[in-house]
């Protein structure tokens, strides 16, 4: 009887699940095992390991010796830490502030269906494909005061020592990050806007709402979860702008663009102080977790909305 019932009309699905739950659960758990083992080996163990290593002294080659709180004392009393935290925060806040409004506007624009927008999109998304190393190398050459575009065009305004002055260097980092990631976030917003039911705009049009009003009363509120997703990617991602800044400025000039991730790398792999570098890494993890929790609280339950497919 049940077997003959058409799909969708079957009565008690719970009853089916009951049968043989033990065997099923076990065979299903086996399926998750390969991913679990690899993630534990290269995700969870290193995460705990970084905490352990922050209480040791290690030069990266020789023996690892316990060192108590020595690394933590060194890191927490070093004025380099608050500076690196401040630089990280600046990069995070400024890249978010620049990218979000531009991405939303471009995403809304690209959500339309005219032909030329498709053409625009082809070129527009090329930065998505380039590696951070390639982008950093390009802009380093482009902005070089002696060999770059400004010098070639004989424009003094463009021929400044962009990467040699602290404030300019920070500006360049913000700009290059935006250059690299605005296309990606526009794409996310384009998808978000296309999912807004067209009936809402029709209703608004009947009520006489103009374009600007429609944008602020329909598009923006409907994009709430897209904004949270995109912002989470931006903000948590900004903690990992290692390669771009490493190739572009190496944290310089001085330590003007030395973000936490770069601070960790320089202490660990250039100064061979793995203990203090691990302490910085622990701080990096804590900052990431705190931000993720904060964003989740701000946005209500993001995962629940994703489950519903809204």
């Amino acid at each position: 009887m049940t077997a003959l019932a058409p799909v969708g009309l079957q009565s008690t699905p719970a009853g089916h699940l009951r049968g043989g739950t033990g065997i099923r659960a076990r065979s299903l758990t086996w399926m998750a095992l390969p991913a679990l083992v690899l993630f534990i080996a290269f995700g969870v163990v290193p995460l705990l390991g970084v905490l352990v290593l922050s209480f040791t002294s290690w030069d990266g080659i020789g023996a690892i010796r316990p060192a108590g709180f020595a690394s933590w004392r060194a890191v927490l009393t070093d004025p380099g830490l608050p500076h690196a935290l401040w630089v990280t925060f600046q990069v995070m806040a400024l890249t978010w502030l620049v990218q979000t409004p531009i991405s939303i506007l471009i995403g809304t624009f690209l959500a339309g269906h005219q032909r030329y927008r498709e053409f625009l999109a082809v070129l527009f998304f090329i930065p998505l494909l380039l590696s951070s190393a390639a982008i950093a190398i390009t802009f380093k050459a482009l902005l070089d005061p002696n060999f770059g575009l400004g010098a070639g065009l004989h424009l003094p305004l463009l021929a400044q020592d962009w990467l040699g002055r602290p404030h300019l260097a920070m500006g360049v980092v913000i700009f290059v990050v935006s250059w690299q990631f605005i296309p990606f976030h526009s794409l996310i917003y384009q998808g978000g806007v296309r999912q807004i039911p067209v009936t809402m705009y029709e209703a608004a049009l009947i009520d006489g709402a103009g374009r600007v009003r429609q944008f602020f009363s329909i598009t923006l509120p409907q994009l709430k979860y897209t904004i949270i997703t995109s912002s989470t990617l931006m903000i948590v991602g900004s903690l990992t702008f290692f390669d771009l800044i490493f190739v572009l400025t190496e944290g310089g000039p001085g330590d003007a663009t030395r973000v936490l991730a770069l601070d960790m790398y320089k202490r660990g792999f250039q100064a061979n102080l793995m203990g203090p570098a691990s302490a910085i890494a622990v701080i990096l993890v804590l900052v990431g977790l705190a931000l993720a929790l904060l964003l989740r609280r701000l946005g209500g339950s993001t995962t629940a909305s994703q489950l519903e497919g809204v």
């Binding site: 758990t29 399926m31 531009i102 590696s131 070639g152 039911p197 009936t199 622990v282």
Partner: protein, 297 residues
């Protein structure tokens, strides 16, 4: 009434229905601000790319003597020859091995885990799911020092395997999130009817879940594949010999070596981007929609 239509549309309306809606935005007044910004940002994106391409065909002496925004009157391939002679074919091969070696197993095991998490019950699978979700919030770069230690202890330091293993693991959390969201959207009745027909979990996995989640599989493959192909930190820390370099690392050291020869450096940028660009031209639609199918939900 309006509310009712809205809810139905957002519940059952698939993307197809939404995409076919009348060009409401286009037929009413044009979106001036968005359009202006769109074209402006296009120029900001296009000018550096144009500059890279034309400069890579100039000789070094010509580069200093001519207008940087005009193409060369006597294009040369010398820069590209220099790049190819600097062992770039080997670096390209390394990148291909690392990317394929990491992405295929990573997507496969993430798919298995997602299926188990969605279809299974019990505390073990719930715990595994929370573990992966936690992995999303953690900047995995922060774990690089212990990863370095583990790779040394495994005797893998300075090999391509050293890059592959952590790359697989780092790609798992996001893949599981995207894939399990898609498997969850498969109507339960389909699973149940296959089960009543006597199919076991492996059969439902391959004959039902796999074909229905193909868009999401494409998304995670492209997204993580691009990330691994362009990865810089893992090769930088876990390898040492020049013959183990992947393309981004090779670019960086080439730039260090020839920093004054701007056209040659830019030729290396063009040459390393070309393979991805060709793939992009071939599979543009798939790539652009696939890249965000899992994020825009």
């Amino acid at each position: 009434m309006a509310t009712l239509t809205t809810t139905t549309a957002s519940r059952t309306g698939s993307n197809k229905v939404r995409d076919r809606r009348p060009g409401l935005r286009g037929t009413s007044r044009p979106n001036w601000l968005g359009g202006l910004l769109g074209w402006m940002w296009l120029a900001i994106v296009a000018v550096p790319i144009y500059w890279i391409v034309i400069t890579s065909f100039k000789t070094q002496s010509l580069y200093f003597a001519t207008n940087p925004l005009l193409p060369s009157s006597a294009p040369t391939m010398d820069n590209y020859l220099l790049v190819i002679q600097s062992d770039f074919p080997r670096y390209f091969l390394n990148s291909v091995i690392v990317t394929l070696g990491a992405i295929v197993p990573s997507v496969l095991i993430s798919f298995l885990a997602s299926f188990a998490i969605v279809r299974g019950t019990g505390w073990a699978l719930k715990g595994i799911n929370s573990l992966f979700l936690m992995g999303l919030a953690i900047p995995l770069q922060a774990t690089i020092i212990p990863v370095y230690l583990i790779i040394i202890k495994l005797g893998l330091y300075d090999s391509l395997g050293a890059i592959i293993l952590p790359s697989i693991a780092f790609a798992i959390p996001l893949s599981v999130l995207v894939l399990s969201n898609f498997i969850r959207d498969v109507p339960k009745e389909l699973f149940e009817s296959m089960r009543t027909d006597g199919a076991n979990d492996w059969q439902t996995l391959w004959h039902l879940a796999f074909p229905l989640t193909r868009p999401a599989l494409v998304t995670v493959t492209i997204y993580n594949g691009l990330g691994i192909w362009n990865g810089f930190l893992l090769p930088l820390i876990l390898t040492q010999s020049p013959d183990k370099r992947t393309l981004p690392l090779a670019l960086w050291s080439f730039q260090g070596q020839y920093s004054v020869n701007v056209p040659a450096v830019l030729a290396s940028v063009v040459l390393t981007t070309l393979p991805i660009l060709i793939l992009y031209v071939i599979g543009r639609r798939q790539l652009l929609s696939g890249l965000t199918a899992g994020f825009s939900k």
